[in-house]
């Protein structure tokens, strides 16, 4: 019997052929932690009594969640991270460098890697054909200290994608559609593997969005095979030499197969307070929903392609007076490109507030906490009660196009009216 992508990657990292369901010890190529989980990772490495990391250049610490620091307690956590990276030779990505999941894929992650991260959205790395998964601080501490950890090789759900995205429909709409279909626990413990003849129509920024939200269906990873799009992305960042072919065997064994035709999709919105509470944009539940805050950014949708789509919709317009719009480029590189392409000028003229690269208001720490009863439409990945800092607020999730159209009208709006 053939192997899925995940079974192949684990086999390479265990030195033997493995299959789904096995519990194995695997080598870790790359591990990350951020400022919310990194301090505990560091304390656990110290508790393990390990002074030299197994592979310091494969251990990356990001200061992106509370960045720049809004409080002294967090400033002290940041000091701990800076001191630890200086002492051990681990890599530091400091304030303004960007969201961990964007930067790790621009600069570090490679096809065929095992990447673990003390952040659930580490699954984003599956877009490059890596096994990438989120773990707790202690598991990541073990990975950094010993260069290995134990895993259960997951069974795989295969998503056979056909057709192409219609006008105004993007990777975000596809993954929201999938989560709505299978539920927030529909893929718990499973790998989600994406394939099919639609792949040449799904650019890397969309793949990163799709992989990013696989965890919102409970998945252990969301993974793509590699192709010319993967090669092109690596080349863009001067890393073409890291390209290698990653694909499943033709007779790989899948636990479930889903067929989806992208051409049938509409813009989708996740309603409060769970990510699987999904409706198509023309559903009656989304009629006349007034919005107070639009957030364009995050590891889900803060890439240059996302900013371009949004800018093309708002160009020459003014935001609705009720709305405030917060734009956060996902990385320093995205920021530089947006600046060069004149996108930041378009957002500024529209009346948006542009913040430094980082996680922004997504995780409810700072930079846009909602008031009681306020409604946000965000391009990020979670709308749990309290997520954006206030349990009395409501968060809707959608694509950058839907966010931009809604910023113009002040209501949740079908972006196809603007494209």
């Amino acid at each position: 019997m053939g192997q899925t992508i995940v079974e192949k990657i684990f086999s390479e990292h265990c030195g033997k052929k493995v299959k789904a369901g096995e519990i194995v010890i695997a080598k870790i190529d790359l591990a990350l932690a951020q400022d919310g989980t990194g301090p505990l990772t560091i304390k656990q490495i110290e508790k393990l009594g390990v002074e030299r990391l197994a592979n310091p250049r494969g251990a990356v610490f990001f200061i992106d969640h509370a960045s720049p620091s809004p409080r002294k307690e967090l400033s002290n956590d940041h000091m701990l991270i800076r001191e630890f990276t200086r002492k051990t030779g681990a890599i530091l990505s400091d304030i303004g460098d960007g969201v961990c999941h964007q930067v790790i894929n621009e600069r570090f992650n490679c096809p065929g890697y095992i990447l673990i991260g003390a952040d659930s959205h580490t699954v984003t790395g599956g877009a490059l054909g890596a096994f990438a998964t989120g773990m707790g601080s202690t598991d990541v501490a073990i990975g950094m200290a010993y260069g290995k950890n134990w895993f259960r090789v997951p069974e795989t759900f295969y998503f056979n994608l056909k057709g192409g995205f219609p006008r105004g429909v993007y990777g975000k709409d596809l993954i929201l559609y999938i989560i709505g279909m299978i539920g927030a626990d529909g893929a718990t413990y499973k790998a989600m593997e994406f394939g099919g003849e639609a792949l040449p129509n799904i650019i890397m920024s969309e793949r990163l969005t799709i992989a990013n939200m696989s965890v919102e269906a409970g998945a252990k990873c969301g993974i793509f095979p590699t192709d010319e799009i993967t090669r092109g992305f690596l080349k863009e960042y001067g890393r073409e030499d890291k390209f290698r072919e990653i694909k499943p065997d033709p007779d790989a064994e899948y636990e479930k197969i889903f067929e989806i035709n992208l051409s049938d999709l509409k813009p989708m919105v996740a309603m409060p307070h769970t990510v699987d509470n999904v409706r198509p944009i023309d559903h009656p539940d989304l009629k006349n929903v007034e919005v107070h805050q639009i957030f364009l950014g995050s590891c889900t949708n803060g890439r240059i392609e996302d900013l371009r789509v949004a800018a093309s919709i708002i160009k020459g317009k003014k935001k609705h007076p009720r709305v405030r719009m917060i734009v956060v480029p996902a990385s320093r590189d995205v920021y530089r490109r947006a600046l060069k392409e004149g996108l930041l000028e378009i957002f500024n003229d529209f009346g948006a507030s542009i913040n430094n690269p980082g996680c922004g208001p997504c995780c409810g720490v700072h930079q846009g906490i909602l008031g009681d009863g306020e409604v946000a439409l965000a391009t990020s990945n979670r709308n749990f009660k309290g997520r954006m800092g206030n349990p009395e607020a409501l968060v809707y999730l959608a694509s950058p196009a839907t966010a931009a159209a809604s910023a113009v009208t002040g209501m949740i709006t079908d972006p196809r009216e603007f494209i």
Partner: protein, 164 residues
Amino acid sequence: MLKGKAWKFGDDISTDLIAPGRYYHLRSNLPELAKHVLEDARKEFAGSMNKGDFIVAGKNFGLGSSREHAAIIIKLAGVSAVLAKSFARIFYRNAINVGLPVIICDTDKINERDELEVDLSKGIIKNLTSGETLTFPPLPDIMTEILKEGGVVSYLQKYGDFKI
């Protein structure tokens, strides 16, 4: 043997409900963070629960963020185990890693304030209020061993490596 009262919670209790983002600055002060455990799901929980009590929830407990702090503060608050119909993947593993027992069972059979007695090694829950007995499947060996040592750090300190 674990003994305490049941505190019922619904489906999809996220780590944002367990350890809200607005207390981000308390993550390096876990005893303080523990005072807010599950505050956005049941405001009275942290202040009113007694040591040894159980969290009894629906499906997909602990979904969302990988923050291990969520599992740690449940343990620090004195909860003896979390019982749920199912768990999100990262939370489940974190709980074992920090020595917090997590049990998959039919929680519809347990009501608010029921007195429970749980035998982890035998996989038996006795509902002393209803008189009913529930069973649950054992953990994979490696997880049983980690839990027995009180968490993965003590496990590795003892054995030096994973025994698989």
